[in-house]
């Protein structure tokens, strides 16, 4: 019975912890979105910087250079 009681309490705390984590994460991400993403976006718009190349144009081609041919192992340890 004691074991059941303790595991019930443990599960309760874990559930409570998850709820708190979700709430905290939500507000932190909201802050990041408004401050980080928002300010960057506004500055980009003021500076007329195009973050995604959306515009259609009249040039002959939309292909852009990629040149992905480096087989040096060091490049592939990186996640970027």
């Amino acid at each position: 019975m004691k074991k059941g009681l303790f595991s019930g309490i443990k599960e309760g705390f874990e559930g409570f912890g998850k709820i708190i984590t979700t709430i905290v994460n939500f507000f932190l991400l909201l802050l990041v979105y408004i401050v980080g993403v928002g300010i960057t976006s506004i500055l980009a718009k003021i500076g007329k910087k195009e973050i995604l190349s959306k515009k259609l144009h009249q040039e002959k081609s939309y292909w852009s250079d990629l040149n992905l041919n480096d087989s040096n192992i060091e490049r592939y340890y990186r996640q970027f």
């Binding site: 994460n25 939500f26 991400l29 909201l30 990041v32 979105y33 993403v37 928002g38 960057t40 976006s41 506004i42 980009a44 973050i51 995604l52 190349s53 959306k54 515009k55 259609l56 002959k60 081609s61 939309y62 292909w63 852009s64 250079d65 990629l66 040149n67 992905l68 041919n69 087989s71 040096n72 192992i73 592939y76 340890y77 990186r78 996640q79 970027f80």
Partner: protein, 586 residues
């Protein structure tokens, strides 16, 4: 040297294991978890790969991961920044999973697998390219990869020679031919990253004439295509770059109606939109391929990426471009990148010569007759045992010729989305009611969707207007060709409305038992062709284990199950274990 390739966390998680450059095992996680397109970390698929070779994670020299997570994260942040403040909802839903696991891949891999070796990150489209070139048949080939999106790239082309790949040019997000197809798939009421092939199957019911299809110019408005096949989307028609919905109100206005609800009745308008999309898709693909030929002057081409599963377009490539030979990765979507990442590590990064050539897709789990017998006996399942292979083939051919629907569970499970004769449902294509029967009693899928024929390679040109010689991707059900006029009425169940068939060709060396079965059926019916459809019901992954197969048979209208050297008759066993009709979903 063992190398593991892993793709996960987007859709179709999968694992491939290479031994000294040879692919020795590969499987998608969905087959084990029974969740279609499962994107979770493929722990079951890893365990299968290791167990199948009797090795442990300590034997793995490198793990190749199929993309560069930080580059992808950069793109996600960029698209949310560009759409501020309208992207708030997707930002809050997408970013936590990145912070929890997607940006910590080495940590996740180490924790889940207890792996202590090196993890190498191969660019997404490079993984696709490697999955098509490094395990394909050509020493030198032009390469085209087209999918929804990887990190930034959505389309790339280049050249492969020996063990080197050079991807020269790209089209970047938010412009994506794959996402155009997905957006219109969503508009027509189908699920994205799942049902694009249904739209392809729907298209022949629409008007395939560019001059008369009213929606063709409308779909063309959504994409600006240059003569060299490069393209950009008119993003005012789409929302996918910042919302969890793909078509915009402007697209709805252009196409004359709101987004169709799921499972709605397909009207002529839906069919014409599907046809217009397929026409535009093929037009862009052929332009890109013609440009690629101009650049590379190479007569071989290899394809990968989700768009390379468009078998209707694939069947027309050799007739619409100067390329003479083609090869396509059978698992061309993200699952296939696990093979690409592993092969790229072994051949290109470590500089080893190419040794492997993917000639079949039988890379998954298999079960011995003893294991199957143990399962059947343990569950009191009534069965008969064949005395030998010959009896198995002769009796099964007769059952199919008598218009029975037969579940066929033999050998190693297939790699990729198509059942190729290891986990298949087989039926008589000459039976005019077979299509209805399979659709209603077994597969529970949309009425418009055709079934695929399987034919021995040496007979393919007799019945189908294929390219000659029959291209290898046909072995993986990746090419649609016209059924020759005189056979269309004889094999109505596998002839689509436009007279085409998505055939699988099979060579004896790939699967002798399956080949012999088709030939034996041919002796009885005078037509050596079978209906081959995947062993599952709609919405369920293809069966993997004897349990999955038995469960599927008992819940559907499959009459017999040929499993290993045993034959199970549905009628002999207690039925209604589960109600497959209620479980069938998109």
């Amino acid at each position: 040297m063992y190398i593991l390739g892993i793709s996960c966390f987007y859709h179709d998680s999968a694992v491939a294991l290479l031994k000294d450059g040879k692919i020795i095992a590969a499987a998608e996680e969905e087959r084990f978890t029974r969740k279609k397109h499962d994107k979770s970390f493929p722990i079951n698929a890893v365990n299968y790969c290791l167990k199948s070779q009797g090795i442990t994670i300590k034997d793995i020299a490198y793990i190749g991961f199929y993309e560069k997570p930080m580059l992808k994260f950069e793109r996600i942040i960029a698209q949310h920044t560009a759409a501020f403040p309208f992207s708030i909802k997707t930002f809050l839903s997408a970013v936590p999973s990145w912070l929890n696991e997607k940006l910590m891949i080495p940590k996740v891999i180490r924790k889940k697998l207890n792996y202590k070796g090196d993890v190498l990150f191969i660019d997404h489209h490079l993984s696709h390219a490697a999955s098509a070139f490094l395990v394909g048949p050509f020493n030198k080939a032009a390469i085209l990869t087209v999918d929804g999106v990887g990190e930034w790239t959505t389309t790339a082309y280049g050249m492969g020679e020996g063990n080197k790949i050079n991807l020269m040019k790209e089209v970047k997000f938010p412009h994506s031919l794959g996402l155009l197809y997905s957006a219109l798939t969503a508009y027509l009421g189908f699920s994205v990253n799942n049902s694009e092939y249904k739209v392809m199957g729907l298209s022949p019911f629409g008007d395939m004439n560019k001059e008369t299809n009213l929606y063709y110019p409308k779909v063309k408005k959504m994409i600006d295509v240059k003569d060299d096949g490069s393209y950009r989307m008119d993003l005012s028609y789409f929302l996918y770059h910042y919302k969890d919905k793909m078509p915009s109100k402007k697209m709805c206005d252009l196409l004359g109606g709101p987004i169709s609800p799921r499972d709605c009745e397909m009207t002529q308008r839906h069919k014409d939109i599907a046809a217009a999309l397929q026409l535009v898709f093929e037009e862009v693909m052929f332009k890109m391929l013609n440009h690629l030929y101009e650049v590379t002057k190479c007569e071989n081409v290899v394809l990968a990426g989700g768009c390379a599963l468009n078998s209707v377009g694939n069947g027309k490539i050799l007739r619409n471009t100067p390329f003479k030979q083609i090869w396509i990765q059978p698992n061309a979507t993200d699952g296939g990148t696990s093979i690409g990442a592993a092969a790229y590590v072994y051949h290109t990064i470590l500089g080893n010569k190419r040794v492997t050539r993917m000639t079949n897709g039988f890379l998954g789990p298999q079960f011995s007759n003893e294991e199957i017998k143990y399962f059947l006996d343990k569950n009191n399942i009534i069965y008969n045992q064949f005395s030998d292979d010959k009896e198995l083939v002769v009796k099964t051919a007769k059952l199919i010729n008598d218009n029975n629907v037969v579940g066929w569970f033999q050998g190693r499970m297939e790699w990729g989305p198509r059942a190729l004769g290891a986990r298949s449902i087989l039926a008589n294509p000459c039976n005019s009611e077979a299509k209805e029967l399979l659709n209603l009693k077994v597969k529970h899928r949309e009425k418009f969707r055709p079934f695929a024929p399987v034919v021995c390679s040496d007979d393919a040109l007799t019945y189908f207007d294929c390219d000659d010689p029959v291209p290898e991707p046909t072995d993986f059900m990746l090419m649609v060709y016209p059924v020759r006029e005189k056979w269309r009425k004889i094999i109505p169940s596998v002839t689509h409305i436009d007279g085409s068939g998505r055939l699988q060709s099979i060579r004896r060396e790939q699967n002798p038992q399956y080949y012999d079965l088709i030939k034996e059926f041919g002796k009885l019916s005078k037509v050596p062709i079978l209906i081959n459809t995947s062993f599952n019901i709609r919405g369920e992954p293809i069966v993997c284990t004897p349990y999955d197969a038995y469960k599927c048979m008992m819940g559907t209208g499959i009459d017999y199950l040929v499993i290993g050297n045993m034959l199970i008759k549905r009628e002999d066993n207690p039925q209604d274990i589960w109600d497959s009709e209620s479980l069938a979903k998109d």
